[in-house]
């Protein structure tokens, strides 16, 4: 909490943060989007095949497969699994980058110049995460359902019409809101925990590696706990 408090005191100009946040958005969002699309497409495809393999009763209509894919994707796979991947890719990179800056005295250099290094380095990362992760989750959700569509139709498990019908059937818009709330919370947790771990790295290269690992581990635990409590509170 003290660390988060230090981010909002002795700030630089808005223009400075604007540029830094844009840079972080590119680093975090644009450079992660391919991985997210790839993982989520396969996730949707596999979910479709596995759901089809388990729904063997002739009394269950086949469009239920895509309905299950939709619910799993929107409620859990897109926000939570992507958060785990985000922690692994972006969180470790944040911790590693800040840790390296710490041990090579780059953070000290900022402090000597009279700059609040925590605010200058960390605030843009958190803001960029809050902006980009929900967008990545939306992209992942769409890709997952497209992946499910391709897997389902190409293997002739169900027809395109059945798949689309199932996707639209009994759709609850609130689940989208819920997924977005989750994505904001996860983005905040991952970026702040990873930044904290990296910013307070002490030692050398070995400790930077340890900080990165701790950042990922702690972020994932925090995400899973938050996932449970959000589901308990909001569903």
């Amino acid at each position: 909490m003290i660390f988060l408090g230090s981010l909002v005191v002795r700030r630089e100009t808005f223009k400075t943060y604007y540029h830094l946040t844009l840079e972080e958005c590119i680093q975090i969002g644009i450079k992660s989007i391919l991985l997210f699309m790839l993982v989520s497409t396969f996730m949707g495809a596999v979910t479709t095949l596995q759901t089809a393999a388990n729904l063997v009763s002739p009394f269950v209509p086949r469009f239920v497969i895509s309905q299950v894919v939709r619910e799993m994707t929107v409620l859990e796979l897109a926000p939570t699994i992507m958060a785990v991947i985000y922690a692994g890719k972006v969180g470790s990179s944040m911790a590693g980058g800040l840790g390296t800056m710490r041990i090579t005295e780059q953070i000290d250099a900022l402090e000597v110049m009279g700059i609040n290094s925590a605010s200058y380095l960390v605030l843009p990362k958190i803001v960029a995460s809050l902006m980009m992760f929900p967008l990545l989750v939306i992209v992942a959700a769409v890709c997952s359902m497209v992946g499910g569509y391709l897997a389902g139709t190409l293997t002739e498990i169900l027809t395109p019409t059945e798949y689309i019908y199932g996707i639209r059937y009994s759709f609850n818009e609130y689940f989208i809101t819920f997924a977005l709330i989750k994505s904001f919370v996860f983005a905040f947790l991952i970026s702040s925990i990873s930044s904290f771990r990296g910013y307070y790295t002490q030692g050398g290269a070995l400790e930077v590696g340890i900080s990165s690992t701790q950042a990922v581990t702690t972020s994932i635990i925090a995400v899973l706990l938050a996932d449970y409590f959000l589901a308990y509170l909001l569903l």
Partner: protein, 251 residues
């Protein structure tokens, strides 16, 4: 001028600095010397505010830095330039962006003027045509020069150098030392250099403070250091046979 009064600093149970007093004069290269682990870098960090001393005060031209409010501290820090041991250049920025960084953050100078100032500083440290190179593409000596250019770009009143020639070959080390001294005289700034390099001590030590086990043991100039009469300092200065023979008059 920078004045320090009764600076002490401990980490856990270990006392690193014990009641250090001293003055660092304007227009001179002031050296803090001593063996490894005597607290030189800790003292420097206490002076620039990267560490808060347990006791004591630091004055920048009579302004109490240790007890100053955040605004005053910020104001004083903006008058400080610092060269770090490894250069501490920002990896994600090229040479020009690194040198321009203090101007971007601390001033509202138009871009043209900033580029002009950056080029002047790079020229001053003997680096031209490297503006677009990344820190990973330049040598250790060049990194130190870029670090010096970044430290002086905002016309500081105080320049701090933490082991400026560590890891450099003797020739480059001397070039860096001379550059620091020239800049000190040219811009009439207060320069404090932490070093354990005897070439630096003899070459640019216009005022020297010798630390031993966290305490100030001796103060003087490079001309006086040979005959200080302080056993601990003699052991530090005359470490090798040639220096010992020089001291004994055998050479």
């Amino acid at each position: 001028m920078i004045k320090i009064k009764n600076i002490s600093k401990s980490f856990a149970d270990k006392t690193i600095l014990n009641g250090i007093d001293g003055e660092f004069d304007k227009g001179k290269t002031n050296l803090i010397i001593g063996s490894s682990g005597t607290g030189k870098s800790v003292l420097l960090k206490c002076i620039v505010g990267l560490l808060h001393p347990d006791t004591g005060k630091v004055f920048y031209d009579l302004r109490n830095f240790t007890e100053a409010d955040k605004d005053m501290k910020s104001e004083i820090r903006r008058e400080i330039g610092m060269l770090f041991q490894g250069g501490a250049l920002f990896d994600s920025k090229n040479v020009e962006q690194n040198v321009m960084f203090p101007l971007d953050i601390l001033t509202k100078m138009p871009l043209g003027e900033k580029i002009e100032r950056v080029n002047f500083c790079l020229k001053r440290v003997g680096l031209e045509g490297v503006n677009k190179k990344m820190p990973s593409e330049i040598s250790g000596g060049m990194k130190k020069r870029v670090g010096i250019a970044r430290a002086i770009v905002n016309n500081p009143n105080y320049l701090f150098c933490d082991e400026p020639n560590s890891g450099l070959d003797p020739q480059t080390a001397i070039v860096i030392d001379e550059l620091i001294m020239e800049i000190t005289h040219e811009f009439d700034i207060t320069t404090v250099v932490v070093t354990h390099d005897m070439n630096s001590v003899m070459g640019i030590g216009e005022k020297i403070m010798f630390l031993y086990k966290g305490e100030k043991m001796w103060e003087g100039t490079n001309h006086e250091i040979m005959n200080s009469g302080v056993k601990e300092l003699d052991e530090f200065v005359f470490t090798n046979k040639i220096m010992k023979n020089l001291k004994n008059g055998s050479i």
